[in-house]
């Protein structure tokens, strides 16, 4: 039995299988919400209300012709999609499912998760850089510029619940509001929650922060030259990143997923969907901003806001309120 549990953990829940199924479901949900907010219908034909559309899209891409540009670095060009998907899938293993516990939990796993969630941006940069097309190059530099804009506020925002719980372990942070007997401290972290949502949106490169792959400006950004299987892997990476990022925020700010296997699993699904719904709202409500505007916005508003949140938490903690 000893080697069966880790295998189930990695391959079934919350590993590969669960992440694939749930992330494509989330993409469908996001597309549907987005469409309804624009008074469109969204996906309709594949599966129940078009539920299988994301899966169909990915399968279609797998059977398409796979082109590597002549000037591109062949190894890096093929390796980047795999690395990106692997890093987000691994990050998903640290989610505190099954009643707060996570199989591979240890003190400091929040740092590892943040690190793993940063890799996709670097992968996108390298993918654009090694495909040597002017549009990919512009997209790649935009990925990096944007990374410098949102990464620090993102870390600062996630620091707040960690400081409250006094721990670097995701499951301890998630369990803290319930064990300390004061669930209201979740409300105190509203600012950090909003900052985390916006920066996650920037990490996912969705409107209003879809600057690196702005279609009308730089075609596909770093992914301009990608096609076929490799593009499908990037699509999957994006879906899984949406799932892991949202679940991560739900674990830290929405009180984790208590209640055993079934109730905990249900909470994981519902709370992640709530976060994705908020992200869809943001996506529908704004126009794409410019790269200089996102840098200004992040450092003028998001970073100070998360610092204020941190100060608030530290003051309360110092005075023994929490």
């Amino acid at each position: 039995m000893e080697f069966v549990m880790p295998l189930i953990y990695i391959l079934v829940f919350p590993g590969f299988l669960f992440q694939m199924v749930f992330s494509t479901f989330l993409e469908w949900m996001d597309r549907k919400f987005y469409a309804r907010m624009q008074s469109r219908r969204g996906p309709l034909y594949t599966g129940w209300h078009g539920m299988l559309q994301p899966v169909a899209d990915i399968f279609k891409l797998f059977f398409k012709e796979d082109i590597t540009p002549v000037g591109a670095d062949r190894f890096m060009f093929s390796f980047m999609p795999v690395l990106g998907l692997a890093s987000v899938l691994t990050a998903g293993l640290y989610l505190p499912v099954w009643h707060f516990t996570s199989y591979s939990s240890f003190e400091g796993d929040i740092i590892v998760t943040l690190y793993l969630l940063s890799i996709p941006s670097l992968v996108l940069f390298l993918a654009g850089w090694f495909s040597v097309s002017p549009f990919s190059l512009i997209g790649a530099t935009r990925v990096l510029t944007q990374l410098f804009a949102y990464e620090v506020p993102f870390f600062l925002a996630l620091l707040s619940p960690a400081v409250v719980a006094g721990s670097w372990q995701i499951q301890k942070i998630a369990v803290f509001p319930w064990t300390s007997g004061s669930p209201w401290i979740l409300l105190l972290q509203l600012i950090a929650f909003v900052v985390a949502l916006l920066t996650l949106q920037a990490k996912l490169e969705r409107v209003p922060f879809d600057i690196p792959e702005a279609e009308t400006e730089v075609v596909g950004g770093p992914l301009t030259e990608y096609s076929g299987k490799k593009l499908a892997l990037f699509r999957l990476q994006k879906d899984v990143l949406l799932l892991v990022g949202s679940a991560f925020i739900a674990a830290l700010f929405l009180g984790g997923f208590p209640g055993g296997i079934w109730l905990g699993g249900l909470q994981l699904i519902v709370k992640t969907m709530m976060v994705v719904f908020l992200l869809s709202l943001v996506r529908a409500a704004f126009a794409r901003i410019r790269i200089d505007q996102i840098v200004g916005f992040s450092w003028k508003y998001l970073a100070p806001a998360s610092l204020v949140q941190l100060l608030l938490v530290l003051l309360l903690k110092g005075n023994g309120v929490i």
Binding site: M37, S39, V207, T216, V219, F286, A287, R288, R290, I291
Partner: protein, 399 residues
């Protein structure tokens, strides 16, 4: 060119462009230091084809110059022909023609607002605007039977009348549309992320707009007070009350404001026309198929700006020469210039701010690189021979 500068080709195929055109931008980081444009990818030879058709056939051919302002091109052409023939069109006919003109302006500006929103990634506004544009399309279908090429113009008037029921229906459908227009005016000028992208971008100073001969809403947003409808009234515009909207901000925000307010003015004009619709004939009963010899230049305020048609008749039923200067031709140079100094992110919206229509405006010249006779532009005879040879060789077609 500095070492850090590199050239990015936008087009002939690029998501920014709905039609083929080529733009070359010299980019230094995110800043644009140089811009060039080139057209000629979608030349259809319509002007030449007109010479082989009679005036009535020309109407339907010229209607297909543009899918958006199809009525503009036919009206501009027909005005020229009517002037050649010294025709006075009946009042009701000219009112109906103007009605379609203004409905077309509404649908063109709504389409543009949607495209502009899409260019800056504001797809929600894009979808909303295009949903409401359907109202206008339905109205046009109600009047003419068609959504795009209305085919309502004919020499001496219009081809279809509207009934009393239709008149009421149009007025009824216009009221909710006006409310929506107010809403879009609010969003277009106040939504922070949208305004942040268009304010102070794509500047075209008033002086430069005069020098580059900019026309239409593009020029009016640079405080150039020009409008053919007022300056050189045609059809029923003499009897209508309307304001010429200008704005002095010289940027894309100004172009949005000008277009949205123009739509409000169009709605007012449509209401005026429908409430004071004169009774009587809609078309001159009998029109000769031949025109006297002579040449006429006709001007028309298309949704995108001044549309100029030149027609020369030689006494037969076919025009000797038809020349079209679509508004995009006048604005394209100025728009390309306005991009320099902006960011890469501003390219789509700056180019789109003139509402470009490359197929309408396309020009082509073939340059022969002949060793014996030197480099020169091909003549008509040489082009014709080249075309015949090319089709014989590549497609096996014998003429």
């Amino acid at each position: 060119m500095a070492e850090t500068t590199f050239r990015v080709p936008f087009g002939p195929q690029h998501p920014l462009l709905k039609e083929p055109a080529k733009f070359d931008f010299d980019i230094n980081g995110e800043e644009i230091v140089g811009a060039r444009m080139n057209i000629g990818y979608n030349h259809r030879g319509i002007e030449k084809a007109c010479e082989a058709r009679n005036y009535y056939q020309c109407i339907y051919l010229l209607e297909r110059i543009c899918g958006i302002c199809s009525h503009s091109h036919t009206t501009a052409f027909i005005q020229a022909v009517e002037e050649l023939m010294h025709l006075e069109i009946p009042k009701r006919g000219s009112y109906l023609r103007t009605l379609v003109c203004e409905l077309e302006r509404l649908h063109s500006h709504l389409l543009w607002l949607g495209v502009a929103a899409h260019e800056v990634g504001f797809d929600t506004l894009f979808m909303y605007v295009w949903r409401d544009r359907e109202t206008v399309m339905d109205l046009l279908e109600e009047i003419s039977g068609n959504r795009v090429n209305y085919a309502i113009n004919t020499i001496g008037g219009v081809r279809r009348d509207i009934t009393e029921d239709q008149r009421k229906k149009i007025l009824g459908m216009l009221a909710p549309l006006k409310k929506r227009l107010d809403y879009y005016a609010q969003i277009g000028t106040h939504e922070a992320s949208f305004v942040g992208r268009i304010k102070g971008v794509g500047m075209l100073p008033t002086k430069r707009a005069h020098e580059m001969c900019a026309v239409g809403p593009f020029a009016r947003a640079s405080a150039v007070d020009t409008d053919v409808r007022r300056d050189d009234p045609y059809a029923a515009y003499k009897e209508l009350e309307f304001k010429v909207i200008t704005h002095d901000s010289c940027d894309i925000l100004g172009r949005v404001i000008v277009r949205v307010l123009e739509m409000v003015e169009s709605c007012k004009m449509i209401e005026q026309m429908l409430t004071n619709l004169p009774e009587g004939e809609i078309c001159v009963p009998k029109v000769s198929r031949k025109t006297p010899a002579g040449a006429v230049v006709s001007r028309y305020e298309a949704p995108r700006g001044e549309d100029v048609h030149f027609v020369r008749g030689n006494g037969t039923d076919k025009p000797e020469r038809v020349r079209v200067r679509a508004p995009t031709m006048a604005n394209l140079e100025a728009a390309t210039e306005s991009v320099v100094g902006a960011f890469v992110a501003d390219i789509p919206i700056a180019i789109a701010s003139i509402d470009p229509c490359f197929s309408c405006t396309d020009r082509m010249a073939i340059v022969l690189n002949d060793r014996k006779r030197g480099t020169r532009i091909a003549t008509w005879e040489e082009l014709r021979r080249h075309g015949i040879d090319w089709y014989r060789k590549n497609k096996g077609i014998r003429f």
